[in-house]
């Protein structure tokens, strides 16, 4: 168990002008489950590699339990990592894969065998112990990769998109298993993903990264309810938040502090907070463009004018048809306001 602190981490890869990570500071509490999310190229995997010691930062420090490990080699950090490719040793049996880390630490044979069997049992791998990874399915390999991490009782777990190669059903189940595992072990976990939904379900806190910058760190609910800027607003939540560009007509438009007339503003509203009403009753009117029935809900794309579209999430079995005239109304108190530079602008009313 360990607390991990990142202090102003910068990483510039050789031959690249743009830093992969531009000064990241983040503290992960002992036993916390943190998700790091961002689009590809945002630097999220770099963070994990710096914590693991697989890469060295250009500047900044990495601390584990207050000890500076910035320059320590990965083998001395006592962290476990689950790779996207699983990185199972193909020439070893499942048993050998699971015991490799224990063997490297010089634990005696009987103890290794006991721990391997216990972990294999808990992951349902008992019958596969003498197989090689090539003879396992994707889900089984994923469990071996997980087992290899658990068996060592590391200070912290690092996950690098370990579920992205699984089919959606298995992914959902494994996610739940990971949360259960975390509750059982109480270990620090850092989970990197590009999938915002995965981040929401797995992170007690979520760090959103873009272009090597930390955009926001908050609980899933906080991120959803009060995104710090336009990027976070559109990245978190599905379908993405509607953004309507405009100019403040009066200073009292939303009543947000510091608001000025004629300011370029952007209003955001989640599709879940958009209600479809009759054309006369709508704040805005338009025509239904595309209807996506999802079963539990219906996603309706509404064309307001040539450049403006609003996406609404209506209940399941919604009767809208393409071409229907429709009005849209915004749930009160659910508007998000962003300034021209993209930053959140006070609170909506």
């Amino acid at each position: 168990m360990a607390a991990i602190a990142l202090e102003d981490l910068r990483k510039v890869h050789g031959g690249s002008a743009r830093p992969a990570l531009a000064g990241l500071s983040l503290e992960i509490a002992d036993g916390e489950r943190l998700a790091i999310v961002g689009p590809s190229g945002s630097g999220k995997s770099t963070v994990l590699r710096l914590i693991a010691g697989l890469d060295l930062p250009t500047s900044g420090r990495v601390r584990i339990d207050n000890a500076d490990v910035t320059d320590a080699p990965p083998e001395s950090r006592d962290l476990a990592m689950v790779f996207q490719s699983y990185a199972l040793y193909p020439h070893m049996t499942v048993r050998a894969n699971l015991s490799f880390g224990l063997r490297m630490r010089g634990i005696d044979r009987a103890e290794i065998e006991a721990r391997v069997v216990r972990v294999a049992d808990s992951l349902g791998l008992r019958l596969y112990l003498d197989r090689k990874p090539a003879a396992l399915s994707g889900g089984e390999r994923q469990r071996v990769a997980l087992g290899r991490a658990i068996v060592r009782h590391p200070k912290a777990f690092l996950f690098d998109e370990p579920l992205s190669n699984l089919d959606p059903q298995l992914r959902g189940r494994t996610r739940t298993e990971l949360v259960t595992l975390h509750q059982r072990l109480g270990a620090t976990m850092i989970y990197v993903t590009h999938d915002q939904e995965e981040a929401m379900t797995l992170g007690q806190r979520i760090a959103v990264l873009r272009d090597g910058h930390l955009e926001q760190v908050a609980t899933p609910q906080e991120l959803y309810d009060r995104p710090a800027n336009r990027f976070v607003a559109t990245f978190i939540g599905s379908p993405a938040m509607n953004l309507l560009e405009g100019t403040a007509a009066r200073a009292a438009f939303t009543g947000a502090p510091g608001e000025r007339a004629n300011e370029q503003l952007c209003v955001g509203i989640r599709p879940q907070d958009v209600m479809l009403v009759s054309p006369e009753a709508g704040t805005l009117t338009g025509t239904v463009d595309v209807v996506e029935p999802l079963g539990h809900a219906t996603v309706v794309h509404v064309r307001i004018d040539d450049t403006t579209r609003v996406v609404a999430v209506a209940p399941g079995r919604h009767h809208a048809h393409s071409g229907d005239p429709v009005g849209v109304q915004f749930a009160s108190g659910r508007l998000h306001l962003f300034a021209a530079d993209g930053r959140r602008r006070g609170d909506s009313t």
Partner: protein, 270 residues
């Protein structure tokens, strides 16, 4: 249709390659006079006379032994040096890596004949002329760079994830290389071994230049020197050629199984 074309092409290639080989084997078993006969006389008997003459009178087992020792030692030493070197080239960051690789490549493409005189002087100064190490050492100058290039290419293809996983599992860089990368490199080591062995087995120029006594000759040199001034004993030369092909075939077959096995064992991603 496609399959038919493929089959025809394969057969044509097989005939093209196998015919001289078959002819060589057949001819080595027939009396010399039958080689020059204009009609294929079925009456001329097959027999091992040429082989008997080759081994009994010409003591051909001596060059065979020399070649086996020289080629095996060259292969072994080249691999011992090249594998760690190639690993470092593929995985470690160090100054001048590119330049070093370029030099290695340049050396392996050097025309042999241009360094024979200087090598001769060096070997003479070391007292290694007409000795087995006197052949292995110069062979290494070509075999090692070749092996480094082949192996470095392979190590670069190996996903770094596996060694990184080993590092996090607590293995030092060296242990990760030895316990994870090296076993996975087995097929590449086998391929490199075959090529190095073939190279050393076929080498002629150095063997001719740096050996003096018949006791130190390797197979290619011995075969070339079989012909006398007034007479070419084709039967014996062909018998020698057949004999010389056997160890090569054995080595290739032995390692080939490993190569095929290695390819399937490596297919774990996905």
């Amino acid at each position: 249709m496609n399959a038919l074309i493929k089959r025809v092409a394969m057969t044509a290639l097989l005939v093209f390659w196998a015919l001289p080989l078959c002819w060589m084997v057949l001819a080595s078993l027939r009396p010399e006079s039958a080689l020059y006969a204009t009609t294929a006389t079925a009456t001329a008997g097959f027999g091992g006379n040429h082989y008997r003459a080759l081994f009994a009178e010409r003591r051909f087992w001596q060059p065979m032994l020399n070649s086996i020792v020289v080629a095996s030692s060259t292969t072994l030493l080249a691999l011992v040096v090249a594998v760690p070197c190639a690993y470092a080239m593929a995985r470690l960051q160090f100054r001048g890596k590119r330049a070093l690789m370029a030099v290695v490549l340049a050396i392996s493409t050097f025309p042999q004949v241009s360094i024979v005189p200087s090598l001769f002087l060096i070997l003479r100064a070391l007292g290694l002329i007409d000795t087995i190490p006197g052949l292995v050492l110069p062979y290494l100058t070509f075999a090692t760079p070749l092996a480094v290039w082949l192996m470095a290419g392979f190590f670069r293809e190996l996903p770094p994830d596996l060694e990184e996983a080993a590092r996090l599992d607590g293995a030092s860089r060296l242990r990760a290389a030895v316990e994870v990368a090296l076993p996975l490199a087995a097929p590449a080591v086998a391929t490199t071994a075959i090529l190095t062995f073939l190279y050393a087995w076929n080498e002629f120029l150095f063997a001719l230049s740096f050996t003096v006594s018949p006791d130190r000759q390797t197979v290619p040199v011995a075969i070339a020197l079989l012909q006398g001034r007034y007479q070419v004993p084709w039967g014996q030369i062909l018998a020698a050629a057949v004999t010389a092909s056997v160890p090569v075939a054995v080595v290739v077959l032995a390692f080939q199984r490993r190569i095929v096995k290695g390819l399937t064992a490596g297919a774990v991603k996905g």
